[in-house]
């Protein structure tokens, strides 16, 4: 593989300084070279496969005031609900019936409505239907993570949102999430609890994405050295609504996204990179070539969305921009020469 780029950056041995340079220039030739290198490296490491998963929202009560989120506490027009264990069982059955074997369970942040025990009970149910169960919930204590691990949790997703402490404080008006340090130290607690997969990210657009991505990369690299047995994952969700003068969001263009994705692949050859249905189909279908290893498919972001069927794309935490079904996404992947991988994990803690 060619590794020396036009501008003298060794793409296969990137340093953080190189990435800073890459982020600060607009060099089409360099981006093209990065795309080639990222594609080749991804194929070598992961083959022509993409794993599929779907989110499962079990509760949307939230005590936080994050100015950018549709679930925030004072959003009174948002109908709040939480599924009973019986309903969770039915939702799991409905989702599993589509062929999906990998689930990401989500709740809002409310220790009262969706307590660690409630989450644990939900995980036990999900583990009966899925070969891989991941969680995207509020940060927890190490002991709580240990209990969830024993209940069947294979992975945890937790985004720092932004690494800019001052900006973080400004955007999180109230609620337990306001404590930056408890959130940023959560990956350490997850790793120490024995959980194998930790997916991290920043919500791009809250501030200068360059600084956030660099901070994220440095954070993940330091965790990799500390916990070599953990498989880290990365995701780069970006804010969709940027026309908001009050909150000074910043746009992250498709070109920026590609630059970020390719840098992530080249800097972390083995890290899983996922892309959600927050992205438009035409962008998702193209970007899968350059480092993506996981994508959500047939997603509903609404509590109880898989059973209801109708209107499932409204009132979710965020809008689903790729409404294609699980089978449609699989067909798209096949048409592009990828094998859609449905089963890529076996929980061995509980079996």
């Amino acid at each position: 593989m060619m590794s020396k780029s036009l501008s003298g950056i060794d793409l296969l041995h990137l340093t953080i300084d190189d990435i800073r340079r890459i982020f600060s220039v607009d060099d089409r030739g360099l981006l093209e070279e990065m795309a080639h290198a990222a594609r080749e490296l991804t194929r070598r490491q992961f083959g022509r496969t993409i794993s599929l998963y779907a989110p499962l929202y079990i509760a949307n009560y939230c005590e936080n005031e994050c100015v950018y989120c549709g679930f925030h506490a004072s959003q009174k027009s948002m109908p709040r609900s939480k599924l009973t264990m019986e309903q969770i069982d039915k939702e799991c059955a409905a989702l599993a019936a589509t062929g999906n074997r990998s689930v990401l369970i989500l709740t809002g942040e409310s220790r009262f409505h969706s307590s660690p025990q409630y989450i644990r009970d939900a995980v036990r149910i999900a583990a009966r239907y899925f070969s891989y169960v991941a969680l995207e919930v509020y940060p927890l204590d190490e002991e709580e993570y240990s209990e969830l691990y024993l209940a069947g949790v294979d992975g945890v997703t937790l985004y720092q949102e932004t690494y800019d402490r001052a900006r973080y404080d400004e955007l999180h008006l109230a609620g337990p999430k306001k404590v930056y340090d408890y959130r940023i130290t959560a990956p350490d607690r997850i790793a120490r609890a024995g959980i194998r997969h930790i997916s991290m990210g920043a919500l791009l657009g809250l501030t200068d994405w360059r600084r956030d991505v660099i901070a994220l990369f440095e954070h993940v690299r330091s965790l990799e050295r500390k916990y070599p047995g953990v498989e880290f994952g990365l995701a780069f969700p970006r804010l969709r609504r940027v026309a908001d003068d009050i909150h000074r969001y910043q746009e992250v263009s498709d070109r920026d996204m590609l630059k970020i994705m390719c840098s992530a692949r080249l800097f972390f050859p083995r890290v899983g990179i996922s892309i959600s249905t927050r992205e438009l189909p035409q962008f998702r279908d193209r970007i899968i070539e350059f480092g993506v290893t996981k994508m959500s498919a047939g997603s509903s972001t609404r509590v109880g969305g898989y059973l209801e069927g109708e209107n499932k794309y409204e009132d979710g935490q965020f809008e689903v921009f790729d409404p294609r079904s699980f089978d449609e996404v699989k067909a798209m992947l096949r048409s592009k020469g990828f094998d859609p991988v449905v089963t890529d994990w076996r929980n061995i803690v509980n079996s």
């Binding site: 496969t49 074997r101 990799e224 070599p228 083995r270 089963t343």
Partner: protein, 258 residues
Amino acid sequence: MDDKLIVGGREFGSRFFLGTGKFGDKEAMRKAIASSGSELVTVALRRIDLDETDESILSFIPGGTTIMVNTSGARNAAEAVRIAHIAREAGYGDWIKIEVISDSRYLLPDNQETIKATKTLSGEGFVVLPYMHPDLYVAKALVDAGAAAVMPLGSLIGSNQGLKMRTLIEVLIEEIIEVPIVVDAGIGRPSHAAEAMEMGADAVLANTAVADAEDPPLMAAAFARGVEAGRMAYLAKMGKERREAAASSPLTGFLYDE
């Protein structure tokens, strides 16, 4: 040529083993197994849907092929053992490739945990082929632990770098005579496979280089031939490489001039 490989009491006509991960489509994988004539393939238990739908990877493996489940995902001996138990209970046989990896950046095998898992599983009647970092003492310990073969890495998994570990693998080939040596990981081209066989390896396992080719079945056939050519050269006892041209009038000739 009557040159069978015997591993775990089973006879193999082909000395090329194929991994089934990373293929862009399962039909290409099926054709690659067929065109290479490989009689042993590895499958990660984590990729097998226990519900066994039509799309299950197992339904694309030709009958008669020995399936060796690997313990991908295991971080220590206990986890590798558990994966082997699940595989056996699910009916996938007793052939186990032990992969114990507790570093997710380089995917290097943990030799110590691998020895432990080998000991436990061979004691339970599994045919155990451990993937290992080529170290002589570890190879001896694996043989003592009951390994049916020893599988040293050629270079980092998926790197296509070939035999970066050449010198150390040569030591294993020289010293480990009780069980076959199967070179696994990093084999990027048929010529790498041929080189390993010329050195005296008993078999070669490849995956990425075949799965990632534009035409996997053709590449699989090329690998099988590389393995065959290397094996034939080994059996034919190649002339040694010399650093200098061999002088036609030997340096010590004067001793015999009368």
